[in-house]
Subunit: 371 residues, 2 copies
């Protein structure tokens, strides 16, 4: 077995996205202890910067020491108690996973379905809330990575509030890529991933909990099933001041990477980051449409950072993708579920959302499709 | 907020330990997709090399995408079913955490206690097994990171087998640092961490499950509570061949680091790694004893890679540790629980187990203590 030297790819799938060399270099800095005063200072800065990225003042804002799926689980494990009724909106893979979480933690999942590729229909959710006045939580995906559809998180959170519910929001693909305002929109519990529009490697899941969410957590009748994800314990580790209770060993070097990506995000400005994703999407859209390629999601609900397009008639899905990968080192994503073999998912996330990437992707796709 | 440039420490606490520059450099290699054929090949190599490190042929051998605490939880979440009786040996912090896991997953914990700093008493465990013939699992810590005591994993597993139990073994601090033979000793479920004697950064937890353990997992009556750690799902992702079911996004760059540390382990040879830890321990022991410093654990049960010593009379615990850190960039560990303020934990783990580190630690300690 020899050292692994990966090929140099351009990552334009559904994530991970291209990681900036500054972030990669940060990962290689010398490991220090997770209780070292310098590490604790770095943790504090990371929390502050995540508040900036999420647009929140929530004290409980931090990265979970595991990928986005664990961030999702952190929200459901801590907030769903046995018997809780949870309305789950499903319009793609990740809504389904939320439902699975609700059930495993003993909740009752009320499903509101929309077609894959469409945004969540507000009226259907309101109907479900009316029919289930004892609902405790409304859970939905802001940016469905499986389809590229964006839902109206602001309206959904307002609706949940109107009916006396907490909300849980999946922002894995939206954070830093599209408008997201945790405090203004009244989001109670939110999780994201570092490997999408944050341009850091996968392995961490930023989360943020409102005071109302912490209140529900503090009033739980039985402990959180997961010891590792129990925020009552994790808060003692990521909490204020220099007196930290040991909980687990934080992934030190991965956190260096996230810290650097947050420094870069603050240099750019969060609104500028949203605008850049939008602008690159517009360029890509024009080029793809000029090639006769059509989008799955209607214009109003499209995520700029994840472009799901119908595979042109006659094109061999797997062959096109493997040719792009093998001959141009360009990764684009396949379809999932019923959309497998029918769509491609072209990501413009974080450091991947650049002029040169958009040019490369369209030119390479044009060349391969014309063979 | 500016880029974080950590101080250059020598890490001789209970972990994380010093990470070799080769491993740090590997972490900085360009991120590729977690479904890229090259990544899948790297995953396969990593699994093979972990089998080598664990001395096992277990097909289900892989790194969990989160720190050691999540590895512990993976074992308990998958193997403990509600009502299962589990004998948990407690002789330090991590035995306590095992008990907490058993309870949270609905099991009944039968506790066998030994004093902190002592090995687990085989006779007590046998007595508990006799008194509880319906016990399903025996759980214990091979190498207690909180005390530096090593227990006889071989004898404990043989005992479990004799009484028809499965076993769960915590090897967070033992893997690659002291003799450990998963197949020869009949270990059923084992978890470790990468940041101890593997000399990789924290963030991953290598695990291995025997066929018997997989059988219990497959026959579960209710699903595993955790979706993220459900091995029935994770196995589809880390499984054989190129057809992988997407489960979560693996921490790509952290896995580069683990892969490189495994390449280095194979270059050295696992037995040589055990011997190196032993040899460095012997040198450290002689030097410390010459300074009149005494060990907490009696010689027979001492872990070479974690040396817990009584703080000499008159020495100020916090002051000595902070002086070592601030003036010599040397980290040693504090005591935990009842041992806080009474002991230091001096780690000789992985890349930290080197002549130069032993010399530095003893010379610096001598200097600071003589002030």
């Amino acid at each position: 077995m020899q050292s692994f030297n990966p090929p140099i790819r351009t990552l334009m799938g559904p994530g991970p996205s291209d990681v900036h060399p500054r972030v990669l270099q940060a990962m290689a800095r010398p490991t220090i202890g997770h209780l070292d005063p310098y590490f604790i200072e770095m943790m504090d800065q990371t929390k502050q910067a995540l508040k900036y990225a999420f647009k929140t003042q929530n004290e409980l804002t931090m990265p979970v020491s595991a990928p986005g799926s664990a961030g999702m689980e952190t929200c459901f494990a801590n907030l769903v108690e046995p018997g809780d009724k949870v309305i789950v909106c499903i319009n793609g893979v990740f809504g389904n996973r939320m439902k699975e979480n609700v059930i495993r933690f003993g909740g009752e999942a009320i499903v509101v379905e929309d077609k894959w590729g469409e945004a969540i229909t507000i009226e259907k959710v309101e109907q479900a809330l009316k029919e289930n006045p004892d609902t405790k939580i409304l859970a939905f995906v802001h940016a469905e990575t499986s389809t590229g559809a964006q839902s109206d998180a602001k309206a959904l959170c307002a609706l949940a509030d109107q009916y006396g519910c907490l909300n849980i929001v999946d922002a894995v693909t939206s954070l830093a890529g599209t408008e997201l305002r945790v405090d203004d929109w009244g989001i109670d519990a939110i999780y994201s991933g570092t490997q999408k529009c944050m341009s850091a490697p996968p392995g961490l899941s930023p989360i943020s909990f409102s005071k109302r969410a912490i209140q529900k957590l503090s009033n739980r009748k039985i402990p959180v099933t997961s010891w590792f994800l129990d925020l009552n314990l994790v808060m003692g580790y990521w909490g204020k001041g220099t007196k930290r209770a040991y909980h687990h060993t934080a992934p030190v070097n991965t956190l260096y990477g996230l810290h650097e990506s947050l420094v870069m995000l603050m240099e750019e400005g969060i609104e500028n980051s949203w605008a850049r994703h939008k602008q690159q999407h517009e360029t890509l859209k024009l080029s793809l449409e000029a090639m006769g390629i059509k989008f799955l999601v209607k214009e109003r609900d499209r995520l700029p950072q994840l472009n799901t397009v119908w595979i042109p008639e006659g094109a061999d899905d797997a062959l096109v993708r493997s040719t792009l990968l093998n001959e141009y080192n360009l990764e684009i994503g396949a379809g999932l579920g019923d959309l497998a073999g029918k769509v491609w998912r072209i990501g413009l996330m974080g450091h991947s959302a650049r002029n040169e990437n958009v040019l490369l992707a369209t030119a390479a796709l044009k060349e391969v499709l014309s063979r």
